[in-house]
Symmetry: C2
């Protein structure tokens, strides 16, 4: 079957065979991961289905439990309260009400269904919850399917007197985006249950688009990329290459003239021109990151090298110039957009939750395509910090923006008029079991660390159990037990995160050399594995003061504290009397680690001997001679850091990630003897 698929994809793409060719046999829904890569010739890693992973107690189990028990039910209530489902019911006559909400509300229902579906697939969801969720989903699907027009068209906004505008104002209409989320929800429900109840309507709408639009038909370009990912996944699910063909068309940008897009539209949407001509991120951050995610999916199927080159260029642009240390993305509120290179303001950061979620999705795809651990680093960073902060510990309050500093404004809300972020973080959390492990031709990859068990098989069909015990991210010690059905020669790949300067490995109690690896790579342990073989991995997890590239004006001279994958932050509420803005970080202090089970759902906090301005900076001039400022006194002050993701879970309080390094203790000290020597006594070259 694998070969049939691969050949088909290449042939179809190579020859531009007419769409609608005979459909190949469909693979078993039970084998499909959150994205399904078993037949993707250009993916080094193949995902495992959520059902194959048991998630044990710990960090993400808590977050997923809260999501299932609190987020999904309260969000469904709010969707009902704000008329999102009624918008469907009015079309079928089940409810006689006016349409409510902005143009894209349908997508919120779809994202909720996707999240609930991944919960259904999970081994940790209780039977009672599964029964309730399935009932809720089926009821929603019934309302959605009943709203679908005979043609297949399905959107609650472009109806009635707006019907004539369908697909004519895609820069703002979100019809493409809603369709994308419909497809993703349908696939998730299918992969969780085998039910085609939503998949068939989704295919019907997808076919409506694919059949009616194209170079020789009506023009189409995504105004909010997202459909690309969804259509590639639909191709992977159905095997029908017409969806992949359409994605090529979407990325071609050939319809710019026919659709009369302005240059600003092309910039804002990150669409509308040949994808492979892009060299930098710009415009709307979520649009751009969904576009590159879809392009990575497209590359996984086609292997078009121009796509890989473009993706590499863009990844470098993002991670070298345009990403927050939290993995958050999007520097400007205006246009929810990227800024200039190195424009990464903390307090004004937009860093929309959806963009961090998209960053996780993109890096997961890049990791799958390449097997390169550097993508795992960014995935982990965005997941634990910039995305994770998007949902409160209670699971019922959300951030839309995730700035890296606040003046005490309230960031979290249970609902937003544009409520894209809440169900997006929910679908990410519920899909998490699908991220931890992957299978390659030569073995198994451990992407993320958590108490868990993988129960799946190697590529050759050999059954494999992999059990993981750890208190990660609070500790860097991880124990694995490898249990193949029978003694077998393969490789276990362990991700060595770039934040860990050292890693030590033992296999069955014997040291295993990591000399061939380095931080930011996978440690490859190739051997004949027997049932019950034990691996111990120990990652050095010290609190680490981080700096940014000095080109980031906003964070120059400042320190962010990180420990393991977690970025830390100061909240005013923990700092005693001093206003946050009076506090300074002393880089040579040694942070103390303190476990606090009572605090913020159980966290490790960090304490640092810092300094506080003797006279509050709120009363100091805006500008003054360096000599005057350097003479100002500071007194010792203890800084108490909490993990960034846990910010904003108590009363509104000022917060900051980047703490100014104390200048009284060095920043402006006279040049050291070494420096003097380098410059020479006269100070001239």
């Amino acid at each position: 079957m694998k070969h049939v698929f691969a050949t088909l994809a290449i042939t179809t793409l190579g020859l531009c065979a007419a769409p609608g060719s005979a459909q190949p046999p469909q693979p078993d829904w039970r084998s499909q991961g959150i994205i399904y890569l078993d037949h993707s010739l250009n993916a080094r890693l193949h995902t495992v289905p959520i059902q194959a992973v048991h998630l044990g107690d710990g960090f993400w189990a808590n977050r997923r439990w809260v999501t299932t028990e609190h987020s999904l039910p309260t969000m469904l209530e709010l969707l009902e309260e704000h008329g999102v489902m009624d918008n469907f019911r009015r079309l079928s006559g089940r409810k006689n009400v006016a349409r409510r909400g902005p143009v894209y509300t349908d997508s919120d229902a779809y994202k909720w269904i996707e999240a609930a579906s991944w919960a259904l697939a999970s081994n940790e969801t209780t039977d009672a919850d599964k029964q309730k969720l399935r009932q809720q989903i089926e009821s929603m699907i019934s309302d959605i399917a009943a709203a679908q027009e005979p043609s297949g068209y399905l959107n609650t906004y472009y109806v009635g007197d707006k019907a004539h505008l369908r697909f004519t104002e895609l820069v703002r209409s979100h019809e493409d985006y809603c369709l994308g989320h419909l497809i993703q929800a349908a696939i998730a429900y299918y992969r969780a249950t085998g039910s085609r109840a939503l998949l068939d309507p989704a295919i019907k709408f997808a076919d409506y688009v694919v059949d009616n639009f194209g170079p020789t038909k009506r023009p189409f370009m995504t105004g909010h990329p997202e459909l690309e990912m969804a259509l590639v996944e639909l191709y992977r699910t159905t095997g029908d290459s017409k969806y992949l063909e359409f994605v090529r068309y979407l990325f071609s940008g050939v319809e710019r003239d026919r659709m009369k897009w302005k240059e600003s539209d092309v910039r804002y949407t990150f669409s509308g021109r040949q994808f492979t001509t892009r060299t930098e991120f710009e415009g709307h951050a979520v649009r751009a990151l969904y576009a590159v995610s879809g392009a990575t999916d497209y590359f996984a199927e086609t292997g078009d090298p121009a796509y890989k080159r473009t993706l590499d260029l863009l990844w470098t642009d993002l991670t070298m110039r345009k990403m927050y240390i939290t993995g958050g993305v999007g520097s400007r509120s205006s246009g929810e957009s990227f800024g200039e290179p190195y424009e990464l303001p903390s307090e004004q950061a937009y860093a929309e939750t959806c963009a961090a979620v998209a960053n996780v999705m993109w890096n997961f795809r890049m990791l799958a395509v390449t097997g390169d651990a550097k993508y795992g680093d960014v995935l982990e960073k965005a997941l634990y910090n910039g995305a994770n902060s998007g949902m409160s510990l209670s699971g019922t309050m959300y951030c839309y923006r995730n700035p890296l500093a606040t003046n005490g404004e309230k960031l979290r809300s249970p609902w937003y008029d544009t409520t894209c972020c809440p169900p997006n973080i929910e679908r990410l959390f519920e899909s998490l079991p699908g991220y931890f492990y992957a299978i390659s031709r030569d073995g198994v990859f451990v992407n993320l660390y958590h108490n868990s068990e993988l129960n799946w098989h190697l590529e050759d069909g050999t059954g494999l159990k992999l059990a993981q015990t750890t208190s990660y991210p609070w500790s860097g010690d991880i124990h694995l037990t490898v249990t193949p059905d029978h003694a077998s020669d393969f490789t276990v790949y362990l991700r060595w995160p770039s934040w860990a300067p050292a890693a030590s490995v033992q296999v069955n109690g014997q040291p295993f050399s990591t000399a061939n690896s380095h931080p930011g790579s996978f440690i490859a342990i190739s051997r004949m594995w027997n049932k019950g073989d034990a691996i111990s991995l120990s990652l050095t997890m010290q609190p680490t003061p981080m700096v940014s590239n000095p080109r980031v004006a906003d964070t120059y001279g400042r320190i962010a504290l990180q420990r393991g994958p977690l970025v830390y932050a100061l909240e005013q509420i923990d700092q005693g009397g001093s206003p946050l803005y009076d506090l300074f970080y002393r880089v040579n202090s040694t942070p103390a680690i303190e476990q606090r089970k009572d605090l913020l759902g159980g966290v490790v906090i960090l304490k640092v001997n810092g300094a506080a301005a003797e006279k509050s900076l709120g009363d100091e001039p805006l500008y003054e001679p360096w000599a005057v400022a350097a003479a100002r006194g500071k007194r010792p002050a203890m800084l108490t850091f909490i993990p960034y993701y846990a910010m904003g879970n108590r009363e509104p309080t000022p917060m900051e990630v980047w703490v100014p390094a104390s200048r009284a203790e060095g920043q402006y000290l006279p040049p050291s003897a070494t420096a003097e020597r380098r410059f020479g006594p006269s100070g001239t070259r």
Copy 2:
């Protein structure tokens, strides 16, 4: 006459007398300064007319010469080319064309007339130029007056099928703003020539507004403050208190309900609510600064203490939290607006030229009201730097934005679709002679330093000549000769700028103690002055590394170099091979001063032994552990600074005001022994 005026103002305001009461005799136009304060009971300083000041060679003489010879003629051509004057001609039938340009083009013509009028008033303008300018102005006035409707209404946009919208959409319409500039232009032309050719149409339109709008008539609020200043000046010019009354109405904000303004309108326009309830700057920077300028004028006439309290609060907010070191204002492009407190990004700075001009105008008014030198400091800072940068050395290219760092983008243009800034900086430069000196009840104030001669009289009528010789701002040595008509007891006030740590004064060769003064105050020399008495003032003018309050995230850990009133900047073009972003400032270097008559019209440049990253920062990671970054090497590099105002006058090139302080040489050095002692060996409190 003085008492008549003062009493009238107070009485009228106190009793709310009906407008249109009998007009008092009008003062001689020859005695009126750029604002006319002789009868303003609450102004400590009284301005002197432009005609009373001779400007000798030097810094501002050059800028004014360029303005008269190059800016005014080329700008007039461009106004014609873009249809600004045709917009008037079409209304009178003199030209059969369509209206062109945005809603506010009339104001650009008015600002040009104001600039040209001040040029007419100047002793330095040649007779030939005066003749040409007068002809041009008269011709424009003829076109303008011919476009005025019999009712008095005069605006080229709200005509024809837009006439029914008059004064109904003031948040965007700029009708109020255009009227304000019409009045200011009319007054300038009147004060330059005695001609009422434009004053009478301006009064007619002002009367139309004042007669038809008000609490019991149609509602009015300024959507772009500016009219407030103009109407107070019209009151000062005509003596008719109805204009002052109307300003009180404008500042009352009582029409918010009748005009259905949203909260966002009130924020954006800095209008629409009782002025004295404001506590901080917000919204559109130019609107806000024109509003406070008008409120200061209003206070000068009425003495309402609530206004003074509000103005003091706002001035503190501006200078402690929201102003660039250049005197520029406006942190955000979005809404051309103020940001949060301490939100002062360099590269993203908006810092519109108009806002810096407004800052000069406001601080001149505050200085006049109080006689407090701190306003002179801000006036000087904005004038020499953030406003001055708005016009190229050639006088034909302008900045709209004046950021404090660029990546090499082209900042200057001869024209903008919204071309408010070019004629605004022209009117400021042409009016400059009116800023240098002022008369108080007890003597004479020297606000600014420049080769010049004041030929005026003290309050008691005693004729006074004051001759000033200096090469300021390149040197801090100033010589003055005081020549009263007859020996006379009065005070000469010399501004001791806050940038000068030391000042020494000699009178007729004898030391004069400055013990009662301090930087940022006026040195008061009270004595019996005889003809030809000589004063020498020597201000210490050393290159001074400046820092910002650490609360400004964008400039923390960075140095701006200042010498005298001038802020300096690095341009890439002067730095040899290293990219600007690789350069660091060593705070303990001693900047070298170099006179360069050949460069940028003649400047003093500053050279500093700095450092450059050994490996370019463009290739370094975005985030890394402090310990890794601190180990990176730097090599010596010479930094060459030019005055900020002269930036962008050669090829487009990266520029920055705030240079990162080198961290290799101290920023992250181990704590000094002193610091260790303070913290104790254990690092705990």
